[in-house]
């Protein structure tokens, strides 16, 4: 069903052209709009209407797992072979706070990376269908997927904002 959809990629030199193109496409009812930028641009994110990133859940769960692991592991190993050291209690919570803290950070950080990779589909082994190498340098891009009967309308919107380049690529159905 999506095999016949048409993807259009416009490269823009200016940020306001890019944002205008996205906003107009959205207004015209195109849902599948994606953008490329050489740096994180919140005007583009705003135009596309982003909510909270689910990465934060990964960070939180990872961090809490780390805290729990830190306390559980130190306590368990102390009880496993109870030995009084330096006149301290067998289970010395203040000392174990340090291990728990370090593991909180470690697990939290690693979980954040996992969350990022899962959510932004990295590593992306398959190359993008159409791509302009200038997107990592100085250009912005707008990619819109439209049904064939509306392709001309989408092309007109993109064209109105004076793209440097406008390319067409057959959209392959999402894996």
């Amino acid at each position: 069903m999506s095999a016949s959809r048409i993807g259009l990629l416009a490269s823009y030199e200016y940020l306001d052209s890019t944002v205008d193109a996205i906003e107009k496409l959205k207004k015209a009812g195109f849902d599948d709009v994606r953008a490329y930028a050489p740096y994180p641009e919140h005007h583009i994110e705003h135009a596309l209407g982003y909510g909270q990133s689910p990465v934060r859940v990964f960070t939180l769960v990872g961090g809490l797992t780390g805290t729990a692991t830190g306390f559980a592991f130190t306590t368990w190993t102390s009880v496993d072979w109870p030995l009084v050291v330096g006149g301290k209690p067998i289970v010395s919570i203040p000392a174990y706070v340090i291990i728990a803290f370090e593991l909180t950070v470690l697990f939290g950080a690693l979980a954040t990376v996992i969350g990022l990779f899962l959510n932004s589909r990295l590593p992306a082994i398959k190359p993008a269908v159409v791509y302009d190498p200038e997107f990592t340098s100085g250009r912005y891009g707008v990619y819109v997927v439209s049904p064939p009967e509306r392709a001309d309308e989408a092309r007109a919107i993109l064209q109105k904002e004076e793209p440097v380049e406008l390319r067409e690529g057959q959209e392959v159905a999402h894996a």
């Binding site: 200016y14 490329y36 803290f101 100085g138």
Partner: protein, 457 residues
């Protein structure tokens, strides 16, 4: 823009940078064919790496006796240098994480170099406990693992805390560094050809700069920064507790954690200056590393030098004010005992020389900052030497006093460690964009069609 807010930006502009693509051109030029200066430095560093592993190999072959370590001074140059390198690492995380959270506008151009410095400094520091333990093939005993004797590490010991702190720090800073480079490596990929293109394609993990990628990347970066911030404070605190948890006079002080953290940032910022001054020159990055950046770093050095000096003075004051004879003797001995020269070097380099940074003329002179930063590096190494050695050689019982003298093997390893660090840093400047391309673009004014029309009309 259609009903949106006007796009404004740029607390700190780079007036010599006109277009976004200029950043790619200028930064990626550093990855081109290396000049003679780079090769000369690289050859020197490689020779030093040989010295490093040669000296370590000799110590492994002959035993730890080839070092000057001997009762009562069981911790010497190795531990001093370990603390020194962990300290150097700290300012990288400070610049990349803490200043990121505070939105300091001057961090963008230095943070990549500072972060690389962090990773390589922790890599260097991490070797020193292994060198110090002598029989390095037993080093895995530090790690808790199930073994046939049902033994676990003593989690009440600061040395085990240190294992956790330093390994966590290395992992997190390496991840943070690697993640930050992904978009820039993608930029290098799109500009490169041949083998380099293949290499960068793999490292950039197929980054395309889509809105979705940037969205999650931005969030992940903030969370990593938020995790790295308390981590960096904890790591040097834990390192300081290696000392402060002991009852050795000169070590057993509650001031140690903040004092060490301030010292670490002080030495680290100085090291960033030492590294970025030649980097800026060699790769022609003057438009990105301006006097404003160096001025900001110099101010950070000045602030931390004042904290460190305050800590020194309060240590001496508390020793006197406590009225405790042993504490008083320890600090008297620090200034006028066998190692008086080390203490005075420390006080001069860390307390007196940075006074120059009060003057704007000095802060705006890059050669002067370079020289001062080297003084600070030397001073901060001696600070750790003073803490480690002078405290140990003159403990409680007079019959157990002794003098430690670093052996030639220890000096070889010390000098070699700088070369090992430099070796990686030089490779970094050739293989990865040495300035964060994408973050720099965030502070540049974005290209606007409207602006162009205004200029043309």
């Amino acid at each position: 823009m259609a009903g949106g807010t006007p796009i404004e930006r740029g607390a700190l502009t780079h007036p010599d940078v006109e277009r976004l693509s200029d950043v790619n051109r200028d930064v990626l030029r550093a990855l081109g064919r290396p000049g003679l200066g780079w090769w000369a430095l690289f050859a020197l560093a490689a020779a030093g790496v040989g010295l490093f592993f040669g000296s370590w190999g000799w110590q492994l072959y002959r035993g730890i006796g080839v070092s000057g370590l001997m009762s009562p001074v069981g911790w010497g140059v190795y531990i001093t240098t370990f603390v020194f390198w962990v300290g150097i690492a700290h300012s990288g995380t400070l610049i990349s994480a803490i200043l990121f959270l505070f939105r300091a506008p001057w961090r963008q151009s230095i943070y990549r170099a500072a972060e690389a410095m962090t990773v390589f400094a922790v890599m260097t520091a991490g070797l020193f406990p292994l060198i110090h333990v002598g029989r390095v093939w037993h080093a895995y005993w530090l790690v808790p693992y199930p073994n046939s004797r049902f033994l676990w590490p003593n989690f009440k010991s600061p040395l085990v805390w240190d294992v956790f702190a330093v390994t966590t720090y290395f992992t997190v800073s390496a991840v943070f560094f690697f993640l930050g480079t992904i978009p820039d490596v993608a930029a290098a990929r799109d500009a490169a050809k041949g083998l380099r293109k293949k290499l960068y394609s793999v490292i950039s993990l197929g980054w395309r700069g889509t809105d979705q990628q940037w969205h999650h990347f931005g969030k992940a970066y903030i969370f990593l920064a938020a995790l790295a911030t308390p981590l960096v404070l904890s790591v040097h605190s834990v390192v300081s507790w290696d000392f402060a948890m002991g009852i050795v006079p000169g070590w057993h002080a509650t001031i140690f954690a903040p004092y060490f953290v301030a010292g670490a940032i002080f030495s680290g910022v100085a090291m960033v200056i030492t590294l970025t001054v030649p980097m800026r020159k060699i790769f022609g990055l003057e438009a990105y590393l301006t006097t404003k950046h160096f001025d900001a770093m110099a101010k950070l050095c000045l602030l931390t030098s004042l904290i460190v000096l305050y800590a020194y003075l309060s240590e001496f004051f508390m020793a006197w004010y406590s009225g405790e004879e042993i504490e008083r003797t320890a600090f008297w001995n620090r200034l006028f005992g066998t190692y008086w020269w080390a203490s005075w070097t420390m006080l001069t380099c860390n307390g007196l020389v940075p006074i120059l940074l009060w003057f704007k003329r000095v802060r705006h002179s890059i050669p002067a900052l370079f020289v001062i930063s080297i003084f600070i590096n030397i001073g901060m190494w001696f600070e750790r030497y003073v803490i480690v050695v002078t405290s140990l050689h003159h403990e409680y019982e007079p019959w157990a006093w002794g003098v430690y003298r670093p052996s030639i093997v220890e000096m070889g390893i010390l000098i070699g460690s700088f070369c090992w660090f430099g070796f990686w840093f030089l490779l970094f400047t050739r293989l990865l964009p040495p300035i964060a391309i994408q973050e720099l673009k965030e502070v540049l004014p974005p290209p606007l069609r409207k602006q162009r029309q205004e200029v043309h009309s």
